[in-house]
């Protein structure tokens, strides 16, 4: 079976400093995969290369067997890569529902000028219903009409997830979704994500510092250190391996 996402030998350097050194990963359909590594390991850079925000120096990205290495960001997004951001990226000036609505509109590819002019561009009942479905799933239904500025960081991250979900991704890239959240919020987020994922069956590639989150949420994990993959395998084994302890857990001094 072709994997949902495959990256082969991805290379990237910033003015001489190697940020990614031949990184190869594979995410199967519906799989939950972790990508961990110390600060500055290159995880966010890798996400940016996958989505095309940064131009790779070499390598290849395949989405469901199709080479997307040369496509611009928005084309890759349409082909099925969804993403959330480490530093939250929301649209000011919009309500929660409007975030989902614009994603839904874009997915449908529906943006004719004449439709706007005769008033067909306003939100339609079926679109709103679809958005509210997702909001319900994420437990954001009460906040649908809330302006984004009034949300807590935790809810903001959920809105990002919801917005990504509206694009019906094949793979969802989550960049440290728990950063800035407390324990309870993290647990709730993991719970929600798990439910939605098992319902809709997309694959998840999760970058995360929270060890517990990664261990319980993912089945397989890759470890990135200084731009190189050092270990990969089932998450439990990876977390227990010596390399991870020295490269990653060791210098963060996390117990267990």
């Amino acid at each position: 079976m072709t994997p949902a996402l495959r990256a082969i030998d991805v290379k990237k350097s910033f003015s001489g400093i190697v940020a990614l050194d031949n990184v190869t990963i594979e995410v199967a359909e519906g799989e939950r995969v972790g990508l961990i590594g110390p600060n500055g390991a290159g995880k966010t850079t890798f996400f940016n290369c996958l989505l095309g925000v940064l131009r790779m120096d070499g390598g290849k990205v395949e989405l469901a067997g199709e080479d997307v290495s040369r496509l611009p960001v928005h084309r890759r997004a349409r082909l099925g890569i969804g993403r959330t951001f480490q530093r939250i990226e929301l649209f000011p000036d919009s309500t929660v529902r409007e975030h989902l609505l614009i994603a839904e509109r874009t997915r449908r590819g529906d943006g004719r000028l004449w439709k706007d002019l005769v008033g067909l561009g306003r939100p339609k009942a079926d679109e709103i219903a679809r958005c509210d479905e997702v909001l319900e799933l994420l437990g954001l239904a009460d906040l649908a009409d809330e302006p984004i500025e009034r949300l807590s960081l935790g809810k903001g991250r959920l809105v990002e997830v919801g917005r990504a979900l509206m694009t019906e991704p094949k793979v969802l890239l989550l960049d440290e979704p728990s950063s800035g959240l407390d324990r309870a919020e993290t647990a709730a987020l993991a719970q929600t994500l798990g439910e939605v994922q098992s319902q809709q069956g997309f694959a998840i590639l999760l970058v995360e510092h929270d060890v517990e989150f990664v261990s319980t949420f993912t089945t397989r994990a890759y470890v990135l250190d200084f731009g190189r993959l050092i270990v990969e395998g089932p998450t439990r084994e990876v977390m227990a391996s010596d390399e991870v302890r020295t490269a990653y857990l060791g210098d963060l001094e996390v117990a267990e």
Partner: protein, 699 residues
């Protein structure tokens, strides 16, 4: 370049000829890069600073009869650095974390406000034909011919000399003085210096003072090339500087210097050889007179569009830009239904009464002014779409409007077409040009869009307008446009035309509101909020910008056609020239770029502020008699530029504009008052725990 051997001497002469202006361009480019690199301000007001020094020199030298040395000291070494310091201290220091675009808007406001403020304070009046004097006696009349090919005037030699000395001093400063070294560090790597704990404030203040001296020097040196001292000519200078600086990708001082010099020589070469080629190639003929003066704009545009590193490195233009403050949401979106209804009713009532009075009692002058306000408001809606919705700063809206106006003129005069149809055609052509223009700039974003559109505006101004199939060749008098007729209505009557203008304005407003609420508006809002996130859900920035540019250009084209019909003449120089259109942006941005009301108020401010406020008509009306208007009226119309230009400064803090900001404050007050009367309907919001936009610790 293909050059015969005999052309060698011509090349040499062109080089000599291009060196003096090139030296001045280099000075400007240096000054420009200095502030850009040390404070992240893309200083379009640089030309205004040059103008102030030049005008001060002229005043001291000619009006007050001072000697050359004291005049130079006053204008270049006292006034200029003082101005730089004041700008830094009062304005730009507080904008360090503002986005590059908001800083740019502030400098646009300043370039409108500063020259007028100077004129008002010093009482300077540019008089046509009074040629500025140079800083050497008989500068324009005494010549030296060291190589036997080109005779330098004294002024030109002085330019070269001053430029060389200035650059040498700058180099010495950078090499030997502590602050120079620190500044060089900032110029090379702002981030590094902050880590090293160098006092950024002091450096930026010093850089502003120094840059201002360079502006002043350049202004005083270049002034004798102009017939009359007027601010727009100096604004052109800044475009030249940007072209030169862009060659050095806006970051390198030596390359900016080389760029300036190179540009001067390049222009001289063109001057020498283009006439010869056009002898053989007749299609070149129309370009001959027009292309040379517009060379800097062509170069700038070319550099922007073709230079790959600029296209790719979006952030290179943005060394100190902080995080964009999230624009606050519009009042209308969040205010209660009762309040909305009340304000609407009040607005309609007010306009109704004003309209009635105007139709019944208004004389021709008032009718003219109000119609102009309505037509301009239509044009300003194009800025609402592009700047308010899409967040793009376009400085060529004047050109788009002019395309509409010229189309009406051409179609009506050559083909006797119906002017109303011609207006639509003008809108369509403008939309096409807008779409074309958006192609090269679609990937640039941020300040680069502003620069590229500025280059286009000047290119249009210097080249396109002069073609007979555009501007008709005979500017300023020959572009007559008839008023339309439609069935039984003849809009030659001013009242009828006002109705027509209102209908057009209302139609365009409705379209703009529909767009704001529709897919395109939402897409643009998402893009403006976060380009990265918008792309990640599949929005194509290029396509969205193409839509925004063509819709905006269409509206501007329609409005331009209407303006030409109203004045029954295109009046390109007065209405649409780049510097004139700069004030449009200033007005709309300072009053409210996001709403239809903002555009309407901007239109009213442009054409009525002078008559109602500054001439004291309002006072006369309140006192019931024009004779009792207090003696302080009329106030100089230049205050209009000063006031609105300076109010642009608040763009960085309130990007929604004064109207929106005032509305929000008033609304908050009204709602708290309403709430006090009633018991609170719901407990305080549990959602508002922490704001979303908190900065996270990186990593």
């Amino acid at each position: 370049m293909l050059l015969a051997a005999s052309a060698g001497e011509d090349v040499f002469r062109a080089i000599l000829q291009g060196t003096p202006p090139g030296a001045v361009f280099a000075l400007i480019a240096l000054g420009f890069v200095l502030t850009y690199k040390t404070s992240g301000v893309f200083n379009l007001a640089f030309g205004a600073q040059a103008y102030i020094s030049a005008a001060m020199f002229f005043t001291a030298r000619v009006e007050w009869g001072w000697g050359i040395v004291p005049s130079v000291v006053l204008s270049v070494f006292l006034l200029a650095p003082l101005l730089g310091l004041v700008l830094e201290r009062l304005i730009f220091r507080h904008l360090r974390t503002a986005s590059a675009v908001s800083k740019l808007v502030v400098t646009i406001g300043l370039s409108v406000a500063l020259p007028n403020l100077f004129d008002l304070v010093v009482g300077f009046q540019p008089v046509a034909g009074r040629t500025p004097v140079g800083i050497v006696a008989d500068g324009a009349d005494v010549f030296y011919d060291p190589f036997g090919t080109y005779a330098f005037s004294r002024n030109e030699l002085m330019s070269i000399g001053v430029a060389v000395v200035g650059m040498a001093l700058l180099a010495a400063l950078f090499r030997f003085s502590a602050i120079g070294l620190a500044m060089r560090a900032v110029v090379e790597s702002p981030r590094m210096t902050e880590l090293n704990g160098i006092r950024a404030d002091r450096i930026s203040a010093f850089a502003w003072a120094l840059s201002s001296v360079f502006a002043g020097l350049a202004g005083v040196l270049i002034a004798p090339r102009f017939n009359t001292l007027v601010a727009p000519d100096f604004f052109n200078l800044v475009v030249v500087a940007i072209a030169a600086a862009a060659i050095g990708r806006l970051v390198s001082l030596p390359r900016a210097l080389a760029g300036g010099l190179g540009l001067g020589i390049f222009i001289a070469l063109f001057d020498t050889f283009l006439p010869r080629w056009s002898d053989d190639l007749t299609w070149l003929q129309p370009f001959q007179d027009n292309l040379t003066p517009s060379m800097p704009f062509v170069v700038l545009f070319g550099v922007l569009v073709l230079w790959p590193s600029i296209r790719r490195a979006r952030d290179a233009g943005d060394p100190l830009a902080g995080v964009d403050p999230p624009p606050p949401s519009l009042v209308a979106a969040s205010r209660s239904a009762r309040l909305t209804l009340a304000t609407r009713l009040f607005g309609v009532a007010f306009l109704g009464v004003a309209g009635f009075v105007l139709f019944v009692r208004g004389d021709a002058v008032w009718l003219f002014l109000v119609t102009q306000a309505v037509v301009l408001a239509t044009i300003y809606l194009s800025i609402t779409v592009l700047t308010g919705f899409a967040g793009q700063i376009s400085l060529c809206q004047g050109s788009f409007a002019a395309i509409g106006a010229f189309t009406v003129y051409q179609l009506a005069n050559r083909y006797d077409a119906s002017v109303l149809v011609a207006t639509l055609a003008g809108g369509a052509i403008a939309a096409g040009v807008g779409a074309l223009l958006s192609l090269p700039v679609r990937r640039l974003g941020g300040i680069w869009v502003a620069i590229a559109t500025l280059a286009f505006a000047f290119f249009f101004d210097a080249v396109m307008v002069k073609f007979s199939w555009v501007g008709g060749g005979t500017l300023f008098q020959g572009t007559r446009v008839p008023r339309p007729t439609l069935g039984p209505w003849d809009f030659a009557d001013d009242k009828a035309f006002l109705v027509l203008a209102l209908v057009v304005f209302v139609l365009v407003s409705l379209a703009v509101i529909q767009i704001r609420e529709g897919t395109i508006g939402r897409t643009l809002r998402a893009l403006r909020g976060s380009e990265l996130a918008a792309e990640s859900i599949g929005i194509s920035p290029a396509r969205a910008r193409l839509a925004a540019f063509s819709i905006s250009a269409f509206i501007a084209g329609i409005g331009g056609g209407m303006l030409a019909m109203h004045q029954e003449n295109v009046n390109y120089g007065n209405n649409f020239a780049p510097f004139a259109a700069l004030f449009w942006l200033v007005l709309v941005v300072s009053l409210g770029a996001r709403t239809v009301e903002g555009a309407a108020q901007a239109g009213a401010a442009f054409s009525l502020f002078d008559a109602v406020i500054l001439r004291g008509a309002l006072f006369g009306w309140i006192l019931r008699s024009p004779e009792r208007i207090p003696g302080i009226f009329p106030i100089s119309p230049k205050w209009r530029f000063v006031l609105f230009g300076l109010s642009c400064i608040q763009f960085a803090r309130h990007p929604e504009g004064l109207v929106e900001h005032g509305k929000r404050r008033a609304m908050l007050r009204a709602e708290t008052r309403l709430a006090r009367k009633r018991p609170p309907a719901s407990p305080p919001d549990p959602v508002a725990e922490a704001p979303v936009r908190t900065e996270e610790p990186v990593g």
